[in-house]
C-alpha cells in the first residue's frame, strides 16, 4: 500500500475530524487568499483604470501640494507644444470643480456634482456614452452648454438626452455667488472615476469656462492628459515633456501607480502582510496540532508498522501525505470560498468615500493562486515536521509494551 493510500485511509477513518480540519484550513486559506489578493488588487485595478482612459502620461502644475495642485496657466499653448513632440500622439485638457446641478423647477432635486471640463468630446474609457450623444465639437453662441451626465445623476434627477439642467459652480471653500448657467443634457454616460457617493457631469472647456462666469474661456487646466506615440512609449514621452517644460510635473501611468503604491496603498499592503502572516501561522498551528494529536493517538499503530519492517522514511511519507491531503483539499476549497469572501470584503471597502466605483480592492490574478498554493504547501510541509520527528524517534518495543499493558 502506498503512502498516499495509507494517508487517505487514515483521513477517511475519522471523517468528522477530517472534515473539521479541512474546513478550518479552507476558511483560513480563504482569508489568506483574500489577503494576497488585497496585497496587489488595488494597484492592478488602479493601473487598469488609468489605462482605460487611453492616456498614459499626466502633466500637472509644479506648485501646490500633491492633493491640491494649482491649475496650469497657459494650458492651451502648453498642450500645443506637447502635441508637436514626435513621441506624443494625442493631448487633452481637463478641468474639474464642484458644482450644483439644478433641474429647472425642481429645486428639491438639486445635487452636488463634480463638473469636468475637457477638450475631448469623449474621453476614451473615462466616460462611455450609454444614451444620447457625446459632447459636440462646436457650440454656437446662445446655445445652452452641452452636458454629459452620469447614469446615477440621470436616474436621480430623471434626466434624458435633451433635458434642460442648470449648473452653478461652487467657489473654493465657500457658498457660490456665481449665477447658474443654462445647460442641456446631450448624453448620459458611465464615468470610470465616479465614486459611490458622487455624481459627475462633463462638458466642453468652453462650457466649463461659461459656468465659471468667463464665457470667453480661461486658459487654465488642472491636468493635461497625453497619449504617447506607440513607437515611443509613455516613459520617452514623459521625458520629452519634462525636457520641454521643466516648470511642470510629468508622470507616466507607471509613475502615478508607483506613487499611489508608496502612499495611498501602503496601509492596505501592510495590513495584508500582517494578516497573511497571522493566517499562515494559524494554518500551521491547526495542521501541526491535528497531526501531532493524530500521531499521539496512533503511537501503537506506528510502532507496530515499524516492528513489521516499515522504514522511518515510509512513516514520514505517510504523515506528509496526510498533511498534504488536509492542506491540499482545504487549500483547493479555499479558492471558491475566498472568491465569495473577496466579493463581500470588496463591497465593504468600496463604500469608502472618494473611491471610484470601478476600482476594486481584490483582483483575481493567476500569480496570486500560485503564491497561495506555494505558501500553503510550505505550511503543510512545516506543520508535518514535528509529528514526523515524533513518529520517527518512537521506541518500538517500549511503545508496543505500553500499548499492550494499557
Amino acid at each position: 500500500m502506498s503512502a498516499w493510500s495509507l494517508a487517505w485511509r487514515t483521513v477517511v477513518h475519522n471523517p468528522a475530524r477530517a472534515c473539521l480540519a479541512i474546513g478550518g484550513v479552507a476558511v483560513i486559506g480563504a482569508l489568506l487568499f483574500n489577503m494576497l489578493l488585497l496585497s496587489r488588487g488595488l494597484l492592478v485595478s488602479f493601473r487598469d483604470l488609468l489605462d482605460t482612459a487611453g492616456y498614459d502620461v499626466r502633466v500637472l502644475a509644479n506648485e501646490g501640494s500633491p492633493i491640491h495642485r494649482a491649475p496650469l496657466a497657459g494650458a492651451p499653448s502648453l498642450a500645443g507644444e506637447i502635441e508637436r513632440l514626435p513621441s506624443v500622439r494625442r493631448v487633452a485638457l481637463i478641468r474639474s470643480d464642484d458644482a450644483l446641478a439644478l433641474p429647472p423647477g425642481r429645486d428639491a432635486d438639486a445635487a452636488s456634482v463634480t463638473l469636468i471640463g475637457s477638450t475631448e468630446r469623449q474621453l476614451g474609457g473615462a466616460w462611455d456614452i450609454v444614451k444620447g450623444s457625446t459632447l459636440p465639437a462646436e457650440v454656437h453662441p446662445g446655445e445652452p452648454v452641452p452636458l454629459v451626465v452620469s447614469t446615477k445623476l440621470a436616474a436621480r434627477q430623471r434626466l434624458e438626452p435633451g433635458s434642460p439642467l442648470r449648473i452653478r459652480v461652487n467657489l473654493a471653500g465657500g457658498a457660490s455667488v456665481l449665477p447658474s448657467v443654462d445647460c442641456r443634457v446631450v448624453g448620459i454616460g458611465s464615468f470610470t472615476f465616479e465614486s459611490a457617493y458622487d455624481y459627475t457631469v462633463a462638458t466642453t472647456m468652453a462650457g466649463f469656462a461659461a459656468a465659471h462666469g468667463a464665457p470667453d474661456g480661461k486658459d487654465e487646466a488642472d491636468l493635461v492628459l497625453v497619449a504617447s506615440a506607440p513607437d515611443a512609449g509613455p516613459e520617452a514621452a514623459a521625458k520629452a515633456i519634462a525636457a520641454l517644460r521643466p516648470d511642470v510635473r510629468v508622470y507616466s501611468n507607471a509613475q502615478v501607480v508607483d506613487q499611489f503604491n508608496a502612499r495611498a496603498f501602503s496601509y492596505f499592503r501592510q495590513i495584508s502582510v500582517v494578516l497573511s502572516t497571522i493566517t499562515l501561522a494559524f494554518a500551521f498551528l491547526l495542521v501541526a496540532t491535528l497531526l501531532t494529536m493524530s500521531v499521539n493517538q496512533r503511537l501503537g499503530e506506528v510502532a507496530a508498522l515499524r516492528a513489521l519492517g516499515f522504514p522511518r522514511r515510509r512513516i514520514a511519507a505517510n504523515l506528509l501525505c496526510e498533511s498534504a491531503l488536509l492542506v491540499g483539499v482545504g487549500g483547493v476549497a479555499a479558492l471558491p470560498l475566498g472568491g465569495v469572501l473577496a466579493i463581500v470584503l470588496d463591497r465593504i471597502l468600496r463604500a469608502m468615500p472618494g473611491v471610484p466605483e470601478r476600482l476594486h480592492f481584490f483582483v483575481f490574478e493567476m500569480d496570486t493562486v500560485v503564491l497561495h498554493a506555494a505558501l500553503l504547501t510550505a505550511t503543510g510541509i512545516l506543520a508535518a515536521l514535528y509529528p514526523i520527528w515524533l513518529a520517527a524517534r518512537l521506541p518500538i518495543a517500549a511503545t508496543l509494551r505500553k500499548e499492550i499493558v494499557s
Binding site: 475519522n14 468528522a16 475530524r17 473539521l20 480540519a21 474546513g23 478550518g24 476558511v27 483560513i28 480563504a30 482569508l31 509644479n62 506648485e63 501646490g64 501640494s65 500633491p66 467657489l171 471653500g173 465657500g174 457658498a175 455667488v177 457617493y197 508608496a262 502612499r263 495611498a264 501602503s266 496601509y267 501592510q270 500582517v274 494578516l275 493566517t279 494559524f282 498551528l285 491547526l286 496540532t289 491535528l290 494529536m293 493524530s294 493517538q297 469572501l341 463581500v344 470584503l345 465593504i348 471597502l349 463604500a351 469608502m352 468615500p353
Partner: protein, 281 residues
C-alpha cells in the same frame, strides 16, 4: 483661534546665529522637516512661498514640534512649518489683490454647546454669505472612511472566528475520541450521563476562559510591537492598535461560549453512544 495652512518651500538652512541686527521672525518646524533639512532650534532658515524662491524671507527656528497625528494623512511625510499668521500673510499676499493681506482659508471655532452646530452654520451663512462651516466630528451616515475600515476589520474578524471554531471543534472531537474508554469506564461504574456532561462543560469553560485570557494577553503584548512597527514605518506618533477593556471583554464574551460549545459538541457523540461500544467490548 485663527489658523491657515500654506505650502512653503525650504530654500536653504543657514548657519546658526544670524548677524542681522533686527530680530528675525520666528518659525516652528515639524520634526520631520527639521530632520530632513538638518536644522536645529536657534538656526536661521530661508522660506519662500513660491517654488522659484521669489519673495523668500529669513526666519529664526524657535522650536521643533511633533505634528498632531492625522489618520487621514499618516502615509504622507509631515514636511510642515508653522509661522505667525501676519508673517505668513506678508509672504503670500499679492499687490493685485489688496484683500489677500487679511485672507485666511479657515477659521477654527469651538462652540460653547456643540449641539448648536447647525444653528451656528445657519447664522454664519446668513451673516457672511459665501462662507460655510463644517463639523470636525466623524460623519454618522456610514460614509466615514474609518467606519468603512471598521466594517472591513469586523468582517475579517468574523472569518477568523469561523476558522478558529472549525479548528477548535476538530481538536475537541480528537480530545473526546482520546477519552472514549475513560468515559465508558466512568459510565460503567454508575456516573450519570448528566454528570459527565457537566464535567465536559466545566472543562470547556476553564479551557475557553484560560484561552481567551491568554489571547487578550498576547494581543496586549503585541499592541506595543505593532504600534512601534507602524509608527516607525510611517514616521508618526499615531496609535494604530489599542486593546481596550471593551475589546478584551468582547473577545472573551465571544470566545468562552464558543469554547464551551465546541467541547459539548465534540463530546456529544460519545455521550450518546452505548457504554459497551465506548469500552470496545
Amino acid at each position: 483661534m485663527v489658523m491657515a495652512a500654506f505650502a512653503v518651500a525650504l530654500a536653504a538652512a543657514a548657519a546658526a546665529g544670524s548677524s542681522s541686527p533686527a530680530p528675525l521672525p520666528e518659525i516652528l518646524l515639524s520634526r520631520q522637516l527639521a530632520e530632513q533639512a538638518s536644522v536645529r532650534p536657534g538656526e536661521t532658515v530661508t522660506i519662500a512661498a513660491a517654488a522659484n524662491g521669489a519673495g523668500a524671507k529669513q526666519f529664526r527656528v524657535a522650536g521643533i514640534y511633533e505634528p498632531t497625528p492625522d489618520p487621514m494623512r499618516f502615509t504622507s511625510r509631515r514636511i510642515e512649518a508653522r509661522l505667525h499668521l501676519p508673517d505668513l500673510l506678508a509672504m503670500t499676499a499679492t499687490p493685485e489683490d489688496p484683500s489677500s493681506i487679511e485672507a485666511v482659508k479657515a477659521i477654527n471655532v469651538k462652540l460653547v454647546d456643540p449641539k448648536e452646530a447647525e444653528a451656528f452654520d445657519a447664522a454664519l451663512t446668513a451673516r457672511v454669505p459665501g462662507t460655510f462651516s463644517r463639523l470636525t466630528a466623524r460623519a454618522q451616515d456610514g460614509s466615514d472612511p474609518f467606519a468603512v475600515l471598521e466594517r472591513f476589520h469586523l468582517a475579517v474578524a468574523i472569518v477568523t472566528v469561523i476558522g478558529s471554531t472549525a479548528f477548535l471543534l476538530a481538536l475537541m472531537v480528537m480530545r473526546a475520541e482520546e477519552r472514549r474508554e475513560i468515559i465508558g469506564i466512568v459510565r460503567l461504574i454508575g456516573v450519570s450521563q448528566r454528570f459527565v456532561l457537566l464535567v465536559v462543560l466545566a472543562e470547556g469553560l476553564l479551557i475557553a476562559a484560560a484561552g481567551a485570557g491568554f489571547g487578550v494577553l498576547v494581543a496586549k503584548a503585541a499592541e506595543g510591537s505593532v504600534n512601534r512597527f507602524f509608527q516607525w514605518r510611517y514616521d508618526t506618533t499615531l496609535v494604530f492598535v489599542r486593546v481596550t477593556a471593551r475589546i478584551a471583554l468582547q473577545s472573551i464574551a465571544l470566545a468562552v461560549p464558543l469554547g464551551i460549545l465546541a467541547g459539548v459538541v465534540g463530546s456529544w457523540t460519545l455521550l450518546r453512544r452505548d457504554i459497551v461500544s465506548l469500552v470496545r467490548r
